[in-house]
């Protein structure tokens, strides 16, 4: 029989205001195995922990139940306290009477009842707990960064500067990401490429950084400190070692009809291409869907003109397997599809564009060489209308419920740049709210209004209709003047909502990192661990975690790097002893557990067993404790119940359920 001590925390008034803690103590004392119970204002404090140590000493406790906040908050604290008191840390159970009880209930009587039940469940479990010993695992001192945009580049540089090897995996042919598509950046209006390209060069020249472009993560196994990752290096059809980046192949390529991804499909590119002039690496790829050689077998012009002999039509995808200690996800974003927003006529008129398309139009290397012109007829616009929150802050399920955060600022930027360069163009912005929280942000917006005369109208646009004269009729509301507005515009720019890059779902699944309903990766704690995923060893950088502008992204990239460095700096990690274990006599050897194990931790051995006198060779599941993460998937699928999770055994869980239902 265990000798259990129950420690009920007030958490100041967080718990005590809603839960009668004295009552919880009183009720806990009635439970089997409980020899001590007390309450205290802050159990996690030095004085609170001292009470646990004292009780262990005086009453000879073998098990400890702390009724307090979530175990994710202070389980480690109390386990350490138990260890100091000479009790195995895995003899501690937390009854979460704060997040699961006091914070979500108002009625004291009801909440107290529930707190007592939660305490009872934890006590029932501790009665069946057994001491567990953690093992050790090694740390591979190499980091993987998934995504080569500004977030990935910054994280990689910071990790590499600390002396660790970093690989960047980027799915497109060049690093640079969305930032490379931007013309100017707010609030300073400096040129995006001017500040990004030096970073790209720095990353590619860094002796500790290795960049895999045109590559994708294919498979991830292992766990914190010891991930094994398969990277698919897609066939570039160009030998990276031979290519000099002269660009002749791109000039001579006769197939020039593929839409340019870099220019958001506003113009075309050759079948063999680098996305943009400053691409890193400066080695083109052949788009096999567009290439005549691949489509018809005829052509081969690029091979003929290539002095370096770098063209290799026979190149195959290559799988690279590498080990990593830490993984940083920096998969970034894309703009949402506008097919559900017919009212803005995006698909009907070439002169209705997204803001990212405007970035390309404004850029000197863009489809119009930086001239602001209508894509339908090449004429200079006189009236421009910007529509904010297209798909953002959306109440229905057509768009996103969240604020995309960057649009207010980039629209102010666009408006200002247009008014500066083309003072004869009238610019009108329809908005719900103008949100400018950030250093020098509101000043920036006010400059657009006050100095550049941008016409801001609070109200939304209901419809954009292409007119026979080639103009666009914008029908909107002015909420301040309380009137309908009908305005003829030459161009309409939609501040389209951003969403996590679609590739993130697959990556999150491979990493067993959780994502929210909007496909943003979730943090381990929204306030206190914002750059860590709940999955150990996986860190978050940039917009994959939530909408961000460049300064925020760079700051978060650095923070993610620091967390990764903290992990890589360790030589060994303590492993969780709550791992699965198969009962040899009950195991059927059916392999179902091995099939579902996401960590590849289960193998099978033929072993001689003595089953009550019957000696026979049986195929039996064996769990590798270093690989097992204690997820419990195997225990659920095991038909005979041979597989059990140490620290969370079926018996313990049933005991908890029974205690709750009693």
């Amino acid at each position: 029989m265990q000798r259990i001590g129950v420690f009920v925390c007030h958490c100041g008034s967080n718990i005590a205001a809603t839960v009668d803690v004295k009552k919880v103590v009183e009720m806990a004392l009635l439970e089997p195995g409980v020899v001590h119970a007390e309450d205290y204002q802050y159990m996690c404090s030095e004085a609170g922990q001292a009470k646990i140590l004292e009780a262990v000493k005086e009453k000879g406790l073998t098990g400890i139940v702390v009724c307090s906040c979530s175990p994710r908050m202070h389980e480690a604290t109390f386990r350490k306290a138990a260890e100091r008191a000479g009790v195995n840390p895995y003899m501690v159970e937390i009854a979460n009477i704060r997040e699961h009880c006091s914070w979500i209930h108002k009625d004291m009587e009801e909440a107290t009842k529930k707190a007592v039940i939660l305490a009872r469940a934890a006590i029932a479990k501790v009665n069946l707990n057994a001491p567990l010993q953690p093992g050790e695992s090694r740390v591979t001192k190499r980091a993987l960064v998934i995504g080569g945009g500004i977030a990935g580049i910054q994280t990689a540089i910071d990790i590499a500067d600390a002396g660790y090897e970093v690989d960047i995996v980027e799915k497109t042919p060049s690093i640079g990401g969305r930032m490379s598509q931007l013309d100017k950046t707010f609030p300073t209006l400096d040129c995006s490429a001017c500040i990004l390209t030096p970073k790209m060069v720095e990353a590619s020249a860094h002796e500790k950084i290795n960049i895999y472009t045109y590559s994708e993560v294919e498979k991830v196994t292992g766990f914190v400190g010891d991930f094994t990752v398969d990277i698919r290096k897609k066939a570039r059809s160009v030998d990276m070692n031979k290519c000099t980046g002269c660009g002749v192949c791109q000039e001579k390529c006769p197939s020039k009809k593929a839409p340019s991804e870099f220019n958001r499909g506003l113009n075309t590119r050759s079948a063999i291409y680098t996305p943009f002039a400053q691409a890193i690496p400066n080695v083109p790829v052949i788009d096999r869907d567009a290439c005549l050689k691949f489509k018809t077998g005829k052509c081969g012009l690029c091979e003929k003109v290539c002095q370096a002999g770098a063209i290799d039509y026979a190149q195959q995808d290559e799988i690279i397997t590498e080990k990593y200690g830490a993984i940083v996800v920096a998969t970034g974003f894309d703009t949402i599809k506008l097919d559900k927003y017919d009212e803005y006529a995006y698909s009907q008129s070439k002169d209705v564009i997204t803001s990212l398309e405007l970035e390309r139009i404004m850029n000197a290397a863009g489809p119009t060489k930086g001239h602001l012109e209508r894509l339908s007829d090449g004429k200079a616009p006189k009236e421009m209308v910007f529509i904010q929150c297209v798909g953002s802050r959306c109440a229905d399920n057509r768009g996103k419920s969240y604020c995309s955060k960057i649009c207010c600022m980039y629209t102010a930027k666009h408006a200002m740049l247009i008014r500066d360069k083309y003072p004869d163009v009238n610019v009108t912005v329809f908005y719900i709210d103008v949100r400018t929280p950030g250093k020098n942000f509101d000043e920036f917006y006010r400059r657009a209004v006050e100095e550049y005369g941008v016409n801001y109208i609070k109200g939304q646009v209901g419809k954009v209709a292409p007119l026979p004269n080639g103009k666009l009729l914008v029908q909107g509301a002015d909420l301040i003047d309380n009137k309908q507005i009908l305005k003829e515009a030459d161009m309409v720019v939609l501040a389209t909502a951003i969403e996590p890059d679609p590739s993130v779902r697959k990556i999150a699944t491979m990493l067993t990192a959780s994502i929210d309903t909007n496909n943003f990766l979730t943090e381990a704690h929204p306030k206190l661990r914002p750059v860590e995923s709940p999955t150990a060893g996986v860190f978050l950088s940039g917009v994959c975690q939530g909408p961000k502008d460049i300064p925020e992204t760079v700051a978060q990239a650095g923070a993610a790097a620091v967390k990764a460095i903290g992990l890589l700096a360790k030589d060994k990690l303590m492993t969780n002893p709550c791992t699965a274990k198969a009962d040899e006599l009950m195991c059927n050897g059916c392999s179902t557990c091995a099939n579902v194990c996401p960590y590849g931790a289960i193998t099978y051995e033929v072993k001689q067993v003595n089953d009550h006198g019957i000696r026979e060779d049986r195929r039996i599941a064996v769990v590798n404790n270093a690989l097992c993460q204690g997820c419990g998937a195997c225990t659920v699928v095991c038909p005979s119940g041979a597989m059990d999770l140490q620290g969370f055994s079926n018996r313990q869980i049933l005991a908890e359920v029974d205690a709750i239902c009693r």
Partner: protein, 324 residues
């Protein structure tokens, strides 16, 4: 049948197999039972007819542990179970010489009795070589006839097909006897209100006497130690505390075989109380088909079942109800 016996004798004689797993006559004309035969003389008692419903694949678990090969007679639907058992490493393919036996639908004596045919002395028209369209029954009260199809087991009306999924050789012809929709009964129950469903199953399961025949015959229930027999869990006791927990036996069993059940129908065939136990399993199969695409357990011995596999196309549990 004689062809089968002759072949069995040959295989025993040339040493290919050391025993034959088939059926022998029972006490009554309609209850042949599974049996091992180790010699030509013993094979004289070998029987194979329309009443040999028993799925022999599960016997191969124990036979796989014996020395030498066993010739096992498997009907087309039994081969699904055998494949599933290979997948779960419960039988040894190398220890089995599979003779795929012809099947034209198997009979349910209760269906004949329900027609008021009593005092049965012998039944003809159910041999493997017969056309299997009419049964001629000699009774104490004279000769009676009965349509073969009307006397078939429920599972034969939703026959999975006449093809054997795995075999070394095939003896005899098979017939696809499907003449009903497999999920019609499940759909009928799905359409009920929760109260009606509960009442339906409470009524059916109240007949259960916990004889464990369903579990013992089920090829998917192949655990060395069943959770209901183990002292390691509280389930052994749980199943007896009150009538509701008694019913949990069948629910838990259905969950344990979900995704692995081939719908062989043995549970319902052997139930002495006539409980339509296959309906639980068939509901799972229907759901699995709808959520993850058509899947037939045991169609091969390698494919991973949808419940123990993962693909990026899998539906999210949270939107399962939307998909339906």
């Amino acid at each position: 049948m004689q062809e089968l016996v002759n072949r069995a004798k040959e295989l025993l004689a040339d040493g290919t197999v050391v025993r034959v797993l088939g059926w022998k006559a029972g006490d009554l004309p309609y209850n042949p039972e599974p049996a091992y035969f180790t010699s030509a003389e013993e094979l004289d008692n070998f029987v194979y007819n329309g009443f040999c419903g028993a799925n022999l694949s599960k016997y191969m678990i124990e036979a796989s542990k014996l020395e030498g090969k066993t010739m096992v007679c498997l009907k087309p639907c039994d081969t699904y179970s055998f494949n599933q058992l290979i997948k779960e490493h419960r039988v040894d393919r190398e220890k089995a010489y599979i003779v795929g036996v012809g099947c034209k639908g198997k009979l349910n004596i209760d269906k004949i009795k329900e027609k008021g045919i009593k005092g049965i002395q012998s039944i003809s028209g159910a041999e493997m070589s017969d056309a299997c369209d009419t049964l001629t029954i000699q009774t104490l009260y004279g000769e009676k006839t009965c349509s073969y199809a009307e006397a078939m087991l429920e599972r034969c009306h939703v026959c999975k097909g006449k093809e054997h999924m795995i075999y070394d050789e095939i003896i005899g012809e098979s017939k696809d006897t499907k003449d009903a929709e497999r999920f019609a009964e499940v759909e009928r129950i799905e359409a009920m209100s929760p109260e009606e469903k509960f009442a339906f199953f409470r009524n059916e399961l109240s007949k259960c006497i916990r004889c464990n025949a369903c579990r013992n015959v089920c090829p998917a229930c192949s655990c060395r130690k069943c959770v209901f027999d183990s002292t390691k869990f509280d389930t052994a006791q749980k199943a007896n505390v009150d009538s509701f927990e008694e019913k949990m036996f069948h629910i838990i069993r259905a969950f344990h075989v979900a995704g692995r059940c081939t719908d062989c129908g043995e549970c319902s065939r052997v139930c002495p109380q006539g409980i339509p136990l296959h309906l639980f399993n068939r509901k799972f199969i229907k759901d699995i088909n709808e959520f993850y695409g058509e899947f037939q357990a045991g169609a091969d011995s390698e494919a991973r079942g949808p419940l123990t596999n993962f693909t990026f196309e899998d539906c999210e549990p949270s939107i399962v109800t939307e998909r339906r």
